[in-house]
């Protein structure tokens, strides 16, 4: 069954059986690695769908015995969780809008124009990654108190935008590079001004890539816990709420919380799977 690789005509120097064994070993490695990733996800799902009264049953059966949404409902209805959930959604949406609004024009500029300072700008954007994000949150908390936006959704969103912006610039620039500039120039020779040429030609072609960039930004914001814990107190985002509740909460609360935080990530990665290599892979020049 493995003999049907026809895309690369490899010189067959070694015996077919040896090749087959080698191929089999690669499949074995592939399956083991996949199990390492998938089994824990399966187990947290089973934990989250186990009713509360069975949470401490021991030993547990890997095949779920009693499936119910009881634990998940308990988590959702716990005080403050739903508010925190909506706050997280709003923070992520503001972050997404802001970073695209500010980052995409910059990405377009580096993709389309040759200008003095272009490489310098690229370098600065790349260099921001060498700085740990942890260091931003503490001074910003001090600044926010002065500005009067401490413990607010907008404050967290601004910090998340700072976090996401370098990525957005680099990703959108690689998206616009992949849209042929000749099309835009053709539109201009046919009477469009540069803005029209962009809106009618480049933008529609870049849309899927931009959507992937947006989704990536959303994940970044949805997942952040450090900045959110530092910047909020009475108005936490979902991860901040869960983190501060960890020590006082029963273990089934944690399981449901973990599962609820996990699900959007899995969905998101599914939708941007085709862009994964482009999004993260092209960091090397």
């Amino acid at each position: 069954m493995t003999a049907a690789r026809h895309d690369v005509p490899m010189p067959r120097r070694r015996a077919g059986r040896e090749r087959l064994i080698g191929r089999g070993l690669i499949y074995l490695a592939a399956v083991l690695l996949a199990l390492f990733i998938l089994v824990p996800i399966y187990l947290i799902a089973v934990s989250a769908f186990t009713p509360r009264e069975n949470a401490f049953d021991f030993p547990k059966s890997v095949i779920p015995q009693a499936v119910s949404v009881d634990t998940i409902l308990f988590f959702i209805n716990a005080s403050g969780v739903l508010d925190a959930f909506w706050r997280s959604v709003i923070v992520a949406l503001i972050t997404l809008a802001l970073s695209l609004l500010i980052g995409a024009p910059a990405g377009y500029a580096i993709a389309r124009y040759a200008f003095r300072g272009r490489n310098g700008y690229r370098l600065v954007v790349l260099a921001t990654r060498a700085f740990p994000i942890v260091i931003l949150a503490i001074p910003l908390a001090v600044t926010y108190r002065v500005w009067g936006i401490d413990d607010t959704v907008i404050g967290v969103a601004l910090m998340h935008t700072a976090l996401a912006l370098p990525f957005t610039v680099l990703i959108t620039s690689s998206v616009f590079v992949s849209v042929p500039r000749e099309l835009e120039e053709a539109a201009q020779t046919l009477g469009c001004n540069p803005l029209q040429a962009f809106l009618r030609v480049s933008l529609p072609l870049a849309l899927p890539g931009l959507a992937a960039a947006a989704i990536f930004t959303w994940v970044l914001s949805w997942n952040d816990v450090f900045a959110a814990v530092i910047l909020t107190l009475r108005n936490p985002t979902l991860p901040a709420k869960i983190l501060t509740a960890l020590t006082q909460s029963p273990i089934y609360f944690q399981f449901a919380a973990g599962f609820v935080m996990l699900v959007p990530s899995l969905v998101v990665i599914f939708f941007i799977r085709r862009y994964l290599l482009g999004l993260w892979g092209r960091v090397v020049k």
Partner: protein, 284 residues
Amino acid sequence: MTARLGWAPYALLLPSVLFLALFFATPMVQAFTLAFQGPDGSFGLASIERMLGDASFRDALLTTIALVVLVIPIQFALAMSMALVINAQLKGQGMWLYVYALPLGISELAAGIVWVSIFTQSGWLNSVLMGIGILERPITWQSAETPWLLIGIVVIAEAWRATSIIMIILVAGLQSIPREFLEAADVYGATTWQKVRRVVLPMLRPSLQVALILRTILAFQVFATVIALAGSGLDVLADEAQRWATDIDNDNVAAAYAGLILILSLVSTVLFLVLLPTREEHQA
């Protein structure tokens, strides 16, 4: 056409430059002024001394370094295996990539909790080990009494969560290696291992360097995974920074901890740039 709109690129860059100046550069500088101030605003080393004299400082520093040193090689071994598997063009190539990339979107906190369900006393690991008769009674894996066990658990959770990013960078790097190079190696009868050592690894150097730098910087900031899995049983730098900022309400000592993380990150970045130079790519 660029001459006609000479100002356009600058206008397009301006918002991002202003935003990064305000929300990235300024706080970066501010962190250091905070660290060199006392709570009363006077300049000096008081806050730094307070951090160094903090009861959990030594443990936090050593644990963070131990985690980085343990987790990075494991992640690279795993990521390299994943990348080679994907590059081997198995059936359902896209599916393997998707599965290995799944943890990309999973947060530190969620990942920590996932592994809590496995390592907790009445959790999956004890259940399975007793089920197959290896254990007679459950083991307490997560105990402040056995910090090395806690570190091991955090390493496993981090290896699970944060290997994908390295894998993606390596897969992209592998795809840029011309097929002819490997075919040539085949013609000369190279074994798989020889191909990996002599062709793949040297050509993958720039990708490896970037992945190492990125991943190490992130590893120094390890935070929620530790809190979820070890609670107060382990101290790390980021969680000390958070404790001083929120529980003790001393932003100066918190900033000192954050500054220390920054310095460690920069030192490791320089180290990787020096140790893994990518300039002389022509085969020696």
